[in-house]
Each structure stands twice: as C-alpha cells, then as structure tokens.
Amino acid sequence: MKKFMLSLLLAACALTLAAQTEYKASLFGCMSDGVTLNTRSIQTAINTISSQGGGMLHFYVGRYLTGTVFLKDNVTIVLHEGATLVGVPSIYDYVAPSNAPKGIIVAEGQKNIGVVGSTPERELNTNVVGSGIIQGQGALLTENAQAQLAKGYLAKTSGQISPALISFSGCTGVKVTGLMLQGAAGDVVALKGCTDVEVARLLVDSRETLGCNGIVADGCKNLTLTDNFIHVSGSAIQALQSKGVKVKNNKTPKGKL
C-alpha cells in the first residue's frame, strides 16, 4: 500500500513537472486569426519557455501569421493538426541566423530544439505524418521581395530574398518531424553545421518558386532523413559535406529516393 501511495505521489509529481513544461500559444497572446502578426508574441513565448528550463509550445487549430522567430535551447514547437504557421509576405520581417538563409523558424547555436507535428508520446505510438503546417506564402513573399529589389530598397545580397521555412545553423539535437511544409520562398529546411538531426515523416509541397530544394544539409553530423514525401521544384534532398547521414524510405512523386 505504501509503495502504491509512493508511486501515486511520484506519478503526480511527474505529471506536475510535465504540465509545467507544456505551454499553449494563447498564454502569450498568439492569435489564430491569420491576420495578427504574432512574431513578437511567439518570440516572447520561446524566450520565456527556454529561460524556464524548456518545454513544448503548442499551437492548436488556426492560422498564425509570423515573421522570423528564433528557437532557443530546449524548446519544441508543436503544430497540432489544423494549426498553420503562416509566413508574412513581407521580406523585412525575416532575419537570417549566422551562416544560414533567412527563415520563418530559425536557430543558431541552440541545443535540443524541435518543430514537430505532435507530442512525443503520441508520435511514438502512431508515427504522426503531416500534422500541423508551416506555410511560407513563397510566391507572395518573392513578389514582394522582387519589387523591393527592383526599387533598390532591398540590397542585392544573395540569399536575402528567399527565406526558408526552417533554417538552423550550428545546432545540436534537432528534430523536425510529422509536419506538412508548404510554399517556401527558398529552400524548405536548411541545416548548416547541425549535429544529431532527425528529419522524418514530413509531407513537403513547395513548388511556388523555382529551384526550391526540399531538405538541404550542409556540414551536418549524424543526420537521419526517413519517411519523408518531398514534392519540390528543385532537388528533394541535398546532403553536402555531411557525415553520418542515414537516408531511408523517402519518396517523391517520381518514386522512392
């Protein structure tokens, strides 16, 4: 009986701890209306969660407009089914992490970060595929950026005009799984010098702009790419100067890779 009580207590403690690391986006004032620009609210959420030791930031059904947000240590963004992070079609709302392209979700030199389609428990049981969405509005964004280039208001530095959906540089312990990734202006997932990376069960559809590559890994270590469906205008997977790359069961409309 004592043992049972103890285990109950422990379970309760574990539950409390787990509960403390789960955060809903609305806590930070994120709006699901597709119109409110949530950049600074999401950034505040990430900063707060990371400074409190890390946890999951949950987005539920709705359209969340945003510019660049920087992911921080021990924070995972969870995009539940029906939740869409929508990239704002204004080039000046995007920032690049060092040595990597601009992106919607970016990180530089962070540990244990993720963007996933479901909670880890649920994902373990069901291998969630293509749940929540990141939508880049690549065509609109590119049109805006081209217009700014033409006017001379935007400097002609290469890479500046084509934000990725996800752009991480120098990060360790990265998970990008179970999502639908759509309409990137540049590459879909850009990984520069990252270590221990899992990219799995993504449904990628990004053909709004020309030469949009799917997953571009450069100088990465221990990279696993599995069970992804990739439909892009450029090449599906590029792994340059990377070590320990495992590529398994990835498909394109033309068949298995």
Partner: protein
C-alpha cells in the same frame, strides 16, 4: 564644344540630384507598408527609416491610411511625415514594443543619439495605450512580465510612450496630433535645439499620461500647441544631477490637466534656468496652473511667466523647495517672475468628467491658497508677482477644517520636506489667497485678490518671510470690510503701499 555642354549638363544634373537627395520624400507604402489598420508595419517602417538614413536622409511619408506599428527607431536626417488622414496606430500587443536598455523606457518611436530628426504633418499618432496597458497587466498577472504592479498598474517605464527621444540635436515636432499613450506621451531627454510647434495632444487614456516632457534639454521652443492630458500638461523635468534644463521658450500654448498645467519637476535633480513662458492658457485643471518643484537638489532660476489665463483650475501657482532626493545638493528656487495673470479657482472639482480624473486627496481642507513654501534653511528668494487678478470661491468653513492664526496653529503646519510636492500637501492652510513660508524678498505689484464668498481665513499669511512688498494690492471679500487680509507671522521688512 558639344562635349563641354554635355559635361556642364551632367554636372548640373549631378548637382540637382544631390540637392534632391537631401530633401527627398519616400512613400512608406513603396517599402510595403500597409495602411489597413491591421498589418503590423514595424519591420517595414524600420527598414524604410534605415534605408532613408543610409541614402542621404529625407522624409518618410505616410499617406492617408492607418499604419499599425510597434517600436521603431528614428535615425539621423530622417523625418516621419504623417499626412493629414494618416495615423500611426500603436499595436495593442505589449510584446510588439521594446523597453530600450539604454534609456530604460518603453516607446513606439525612439530616437537615441541622432541628429536632424523630426515628426511632422497633420496626421495622428495614436498609442492606444489604454488597451496596451491593460493587456500588459494580464501578462504581469500570469507571471510572464516582471513588474511589481505598484498601485495595481504597470510601472510607467514599462508602458509604451508615443515618442521618446534621447540625446538628439535639431529635433522638429510639427503639426501632428498625439493621442492616447500608455505612459508619458512624448519625452525629449538631453536633447538640444528642439522645436515643437502647432501640435495637438489628447493624452488621457491611462495613468501618467503627461502632455509633453522636456528633460534636461537645452534650447527649446514650444509654441502654438494644445495639450489635454491626464497627468501634467507641459512638463519640464531634470533627471540628471549633472545636467540642467535651460534656455526654453513656451509661447501661445493651452493646457488642460488632471494634474498640473505647467510644471517644473517633480524630478528636479539638476534644475531649470532661463525660461520665458508667454501667453499660456490653462483650464479645467485639477491641481495648479503653474508648479515649481525644487525638491531633488536642483536649481530653479531666471524664469518669467508672462500672460496667463487660468480658468476653472484648482490652484493658481505653487512654488516649493523640498528635500526629497537631494543627495547632499542644496536646492534653490529664485528669480521667478509671474506677470499678467487672470485666474479663477472653482469651488467644485475642476476636472470632473475627464478621463483619468485626478485623485481626491489631502482632506479635509477648504480651497487651498496659492503658495510659496520653502524650508527653514533652504529659502525661496526673489519672487515677483505683478498685474495679477485671482478670483477665489471663498467659503472656507472652520467647522470642516481649520488652521487659525495663533502661533501654535501656524507652527503646527508640517514642513514635509521629504514629501511629494503638491499644493494640497499641507491639507488646510490659514489663508484663502496666498500662503508664503520660509521665503525672502517677495514683491507683489498690482495684485487683486477676490473671494466670491466669505472665508474664515485672511487672504494672505506670511510665515518666516524676510522682505515682502505689497504695492497696489487689493482685496475683495463679501462682508469683510475691517478684516485684516495680510497676516505676517515671524516675518520682517513687510511693506504695504
């Protein structure tokens, strides 16, 4: 020959281009700004400012529309020109604003260490501060924003102002309407050569909504402007003990406040000197039309206020030396002249019905007199009051509150040197028109005191005053024909002509 003509033409074109560059207008919409009242333009506006700054300067023009924004930083040689019909609308999301680490304040439009900057045009800057401040409270209550919630509101440095300029030179603020900040409305701190003209301020959406704050600035002109503010309307401050706010002209301005109309202080560490205030109208103002507070060790000197209409305002003037945050410095308040004033003090609350009314406090007291109050060893000196007519309600009721003229009663009035300086701070005072304490050389010329009803108090009480001259001073109070209206106590060299 043809080649030479071509050369000259090219040179001319180059010169012309150069001239155009220096005064060039840029349409903010060309950068992708959207004036739909929804899209958050912070990043676009910031890029546009940076671009204009990097390309020789000019005006960034906001054509009619409503442009939502969070914090932006103005840069040298850039003017934000907000056309009539255009509004720069503050985001109501507190996270869209920055508390600048250098200045320690939160604002929509910052300019820090820049030159030749301005905000012009007949458009509107609307901070929507009420909503932003209350949204911030929700985050503080959730523990997401650190703030002690003193008085159950976020600290004033955490709430966004509309404008905060620091250490800028050649600043032009012209024609704009400034509305509804979450904190002070507009601060210019340690700026030089500041011209503010023809602006309209409607600033009463939340606590601490001052009209304009000029802090430790040098060479300032404020003219032809209107300020309706929940807190002080036109406010000069000195935050830095080693700086001073000086060489200031204020002309043809109107103020309405639920605090004071024209205020020197409260923060008064360095001080204020060489001011000329002319043609000032103050109405429906809860506290004083004019307040001088030397309570933090600063010097106040060489100030002329000439031409004041103070209508339905709780007090006409309050001059005060205190010892609040002096940290060893000796505060001074001297060489102040107040001339050509017509003032009406009401019996009822002057700011009743305005948003964020002033707090009813320091009761019980009858209507407070205008006051000049120093400290026993820190005296107010050389004050001239000339061509002044003050109309008071009278009705001082000794059963409601009483401080009589007996030595014990006058001595019992506290010094309150550490307290926040406010005309009502002593509660009941023994005069209905003017109370002077711990002051030297006070000159009244052609001053008329009128009480509309009888009052148990005399018009004027002087306590510990060395040197006062009353020439052409008249008193009018119903059924008070033989009443002694000037009562000196512990005073010397008092001359009535």
């Amino acid at each position: 020959m043809t080649r030479n003509i071509a050369k000259i033409l090219t040179l001319g074109a180059a010169l012309l281009t150069g001239w155009q560059l220096s005064a060039k207008d840029y349409d903010v919409q060309e950068f992708g700004a959207v004036g739909d009242g929804v899209f958050l333009n912070s990043c676009v506006i910031q890029h546009a400012i940076d671009y204009v700054h990097a390309h020789g300067g000019g005006r960034l023009v906001f054509s009619p529309g409503t442009y939502v924004t969070g914090s932006i930083y103005l840069k040298s040689n850039v003017t934000l020109h907000i056309e009539q019909g255009a509004t720069l609308l503050g985001s109501t999301n507190p996270w869209d604003y920055v508390k600048d680490p250098y200045v320690g304040w939160n604002a929509m439009i910052f300019a820090i260490k820049q030159e030749n900057v301005g905000i012009t045009g007949k458009g509107v800057i609307n901070g929507r501060g009420f909503t932003t401040a209350n949204n911030m409270i929700k985050y503080i209550q959730k523990g997401l924003y650190s703030d002690p919630l003193r008085n159950d509101r976020p600290g004033e440095t955490n709430r966004p102002e509309n404008i905060h300029f620091r250490e800028c030179t050649h600043v032009l603020i012209q024609d704009i309407t400034l509305k509804d900040p979450a904190s002070w409305n507009q601060t210019y701190d340690q700026c030089r050569n500041l011209l503010v003209e023809r602006i309209y301020v409607d600033s009463k959406s939340y606590w601490n909504n001052d009209g304009i704050d000029i802090v430790d600035c040098d060479s300032v002109t404020i003219k032809d402007s209107f300020f309706d503010a929940a807190d002080d309307a036109i406010c000069f401050k000195s935050h830095d003990a080693s700086s001073i706010c000086q060489n200031v002209v204020v002309d043809n301005c109107t103020g309405r406040s639920s605090a004071s109309g024209l205020k020197f202080g409260t923060a008064s560490r360095g001080g204020f000197r060489n001011f000329k205030i002319t043609n000032l109208t103050i109405f429906d103002t809860f506290r004083s039309a004019i307040t001088f507070a030397a309570v933090d060790g600063g010097q106040i000197e060489n100030i002329t206020v000439d031409g004041v209409r103070s209508i339905n305002t709780g007090n006409v003037f309050y001059l005060r030396i205190g010892d609040r945050w002096s940290s060893g410095k000796t505060p001074t308040l001297k060489n102040v002249a107040i001339r050509n004033v017509y003032a009406e003090v009401p019996f009822t609350k002057p700011d009743a019905g305005y948003s964020y009314e002033g707090p009813v406090e320091d009761n019980p007291r009858n209507i407070s007199p205008a006051s000049i109050v120093g400290l026993p060893n820190k005296r107010i000196e050389n004050i001239t009051l000339e061509n002044i007519k003050m109309v008071y309600p009278g009705r001082g009721d000794s059963l409601y509150a009483k401080v009589g003229l007996a030595a014990g009663e006058l001595d019992a009035i506290p010094e309150m040197e550490k307290s926040y300086p406010e005309f009502s701070q002593f509660k009941e005072l023994p005069a209905w028109g003017l109370y002077v304490r711990h002051a030297d050389n006070i000159q009244l010329k052609n001053v008329s005191f009128k009480a509309q009803n009888a009052d148990y108090r005399p018009a004027v009480v002087l306590d510990d005053v060395n040197g006062a001259t009353f020439s052409g001073v008249a008193f009018s109070e119903p059924s008070a024909r033989k009443k002694q209206q000037i009562f000196p106590y512990k005073s010397s060299s008092i001359h009535v002509k």
